[in-house]
Amino acid sequence: MSILSLHNVSKSFGKTEIIRGVNLDIQAGERHAIIGPNGAGKSTLFHLISGKYQPSSGRITFRDQEIQNHPPYEIARLGLARSFQVTNIFPRLSVFENVRCGMLWKQGLGYSFRHLLGRQTELNARAMHLLEEISLSDRADFPAGELAYAQQRALELGVAIASGADLIMLDEPVAGMSLSEAEAAVSLIRKITEGKTLVMVEHDMNIVFDVADRISVLVYGEIIASDSPQAIRANPKVQEAYLGEAILTDAGGDDA
């Protein structure tokens, strides 16, 4: 069953068409990676799905509901969460508050000014538990802006998954990390997306072929292939697009 589908989605900025008629089906429970050269429109595609931008034409359905003209907060409430390529947290709130804010809506607290957060024992316990999962519990009271880079990335993930969304979209979750940090991040991503649907944009092919069940290749705003990792690696069109990037043929051979 497909949880997210894009039908002929296009997006232009002025005269420049960044996304040109993308069709994409994401099955519930799969780990789907979107790859493509720089400037292919991967982040734009994420922004379109999550509601930051509205498509110039086409339809996007999430759980059989059209979402292309919905504001981001409504899409988020439906159970679609995302992270950002550039760390996008609440810098002066504590690490704990960052994660708890991510949980509030799903908890049914909405815009309430009648509930006291301190009394939400179960919510607070869940927030602490999530911090343990992302190994930040000893930093719970730190202002988020003062964390080290890799920790901020982990928090970025934590805020995204806090709502318990079924579909999680990660935009270059390990960008800028050292090798060991990236490894830790990948196992974290595996752990926290257990039983959920994952869509991610990533440049590191090792990680992509390691994590993804299916891969879509976006080139100049068009999906040129969408298939299993093996089929993508063998696809001549993909190889053409990635000409010179030998990494594609080597990757996956040394599965950790």
Partner: protein, 410 residues
């Protein structure tokens, strides 16, 4: 319960102050403080907690106040019948209604756009208040008499001290509710939207709606403050909803410290004291206020409360006492230097005539006085500069953590 200790202390302070100082002047000042505290706290809901810089917050204070005075008039003429203890609520409701109206279009954006809309609305309302004379009373304003309402447990509010106790109750309740607001989902999301409105939208919250809620609550409490004003003074004029009042509340909240709940309370107390006490000693108190404000923005971006909170780390590590001596060594010359600057300003101002400055009589016509003043100023400046290094290193030492791998929030 340690959690309630500050609140008990606050309540005791509010109720105990008139016992300690019971002069007419003191009661007048306490009444002003009460109004200022609620007003400044309501402003902090906007700017400190919600990140919305308003140049027109007096609109909600003033409209609430005007309606409260009209309500007093209605009580007097028996159009309505209720206890005047509820007058602040009338002000609050009017503030809320005005905020709902304005907030419906102004909270779309924070930042410069919000600030400009607030400025425009502020000027519009202030100018309109001079046009609609029948409601606002023109330049003279409107006045009423608070003693016509039904007595409240036998109290008829003839005296200012009775009004003070009534205000203290309202101040305490308002403070508690505004504090509790910061602990609710709406209040916490206001912080989140202030920090990063984009991310807030991606975790399910409409930034506009979050701002709107803060804006309306803030308008309500500004109106309550306006109602307290009406009760205390029994009149209100156009000045209470124009840019001057809007500016003053910004000053209070900023000088006190925006990031902290207690900040605006400190700001309200300090500014009220300056306003009423300093103005007795010098005509230049507004100039000093301006200097203090600019210096605060420059050197204490988190206000007085921020300055106090800077010492939290040292206090937690039990090293606060090591700072006392360096503070005195640098602080005393610094105060003397500031004092000589003030004396110089006053001497310029008094051009030719002698006047009392603290414990000495100064005469600007006397060259010797100028010489002495310059020497004191230069010497204290020198001493201050010399000892600053010591203070800095003492500060660093006090804040240094035992464990070098773990760096606390700075």
């Amino acid at each position: 319960m340690g959690k309630f200790a500050p609140w008990v202390g606050y309540l005791i302070a509010l109720l105990g102050l008139p016992q300690l100082f019971d002069s007419v002047l003191a009661i007048t000042i306490f009444n002003q403080m009460a109004i200022a505290i609620v007003f400044a706290l309501s402003y902090n809901m906007l700017l400190g907690q919600g990140g919305m810089l308003s140049f027109g917050h007096a609109v909600y204070f003033g409209l609430g106040g005007f309606m409260a005075v009209h309500a007093l008039i209605m009580i007097e003429f028996e159009t309505v019948y209720f206890s005047i203890t509820l007058i602040p609520l009338v002000g609050g409701l009017i503030g809320l209604i005005a905020a709902i109206f304005v907030g419906s279009f102004s909270t779309h954006k924070a930042g410069t756009v919000f600030a400009m809309i607030s400025l425009g609305i502020g000027e519009l309302v202030a100018a309109s208040s001079l046009i609609f004379v029948s409601f606002f009373g023109g330049e003279a304003g409107v006045s009423a008499d608070r003693t016509f309402g039904p007595p409240f447990f036998g109290i008829e509010f003839f005296q200012d001290v009775e009004i003070y106790y009534l205000s203290a109750g309202w101040v305490f309740a308002s403070t508690v509710f505004m504090y509790l607001f910061t602990q609710t989902p709406a209040g916490r999301m206001a912080n989140a939207v202030r920090e990063n409105p984009e991310r807030a939208e991606f975790i399910g919250y409409s930034a506009r709606r979050v701002r709107f809620i803060s804006f309306c609550s803030s308008g309500f409490f500004a109106g309550v403050a306006g109602g307290l004003f009406a009760l205390n003074y029994e009149f209100i004029t156009e000045e209470n909803l124009n840019a001057v009042t809007s500016g003053r509340v910004l000053l209070m909240a900023y000088i006190g410290g925006l990031g902290y709940f207690i900040g605006p309370i400190i700001g309200a107390v300090v500014l009220t004291l300056m306003n009423s006490l300093l103005s007795n000693y010098t005509e230049l108190w507004m100039l000093y206020l301006g200097i203090m404000f600019v210096l605060t923005v420059l050197f204490l971006p988190r206000g007085f409360a921020g300055f106090i909170m800077m010492h939290q780390t040292a206090w937690l590590r039990g090293r606060l006492s090591s700072l006392v001596l360096p503070y005195l060594i640098t602080g005393i010359p610094a105060i003397m230097f500031g004092g000589s600057i003030l004396a110089a300003i006053e001497m310029l101002h008094h051009g030719g005539e002698s006047f009392r400055f603290l414990f000495v009589t100064l005469d600007s016509g006397n060259a010797l006085h100028w010489f002495a003043l310059t020497s004191v100023g230069a010497a204290s400046h020198f001493a201050c500069r010399r000892s600053l290094g010591q203070l800095t290193s003492a500060w660093e030492e006090a804040n240094q953590s035992e464990d070098t791998t773990e760096r606390g929030p700075s």
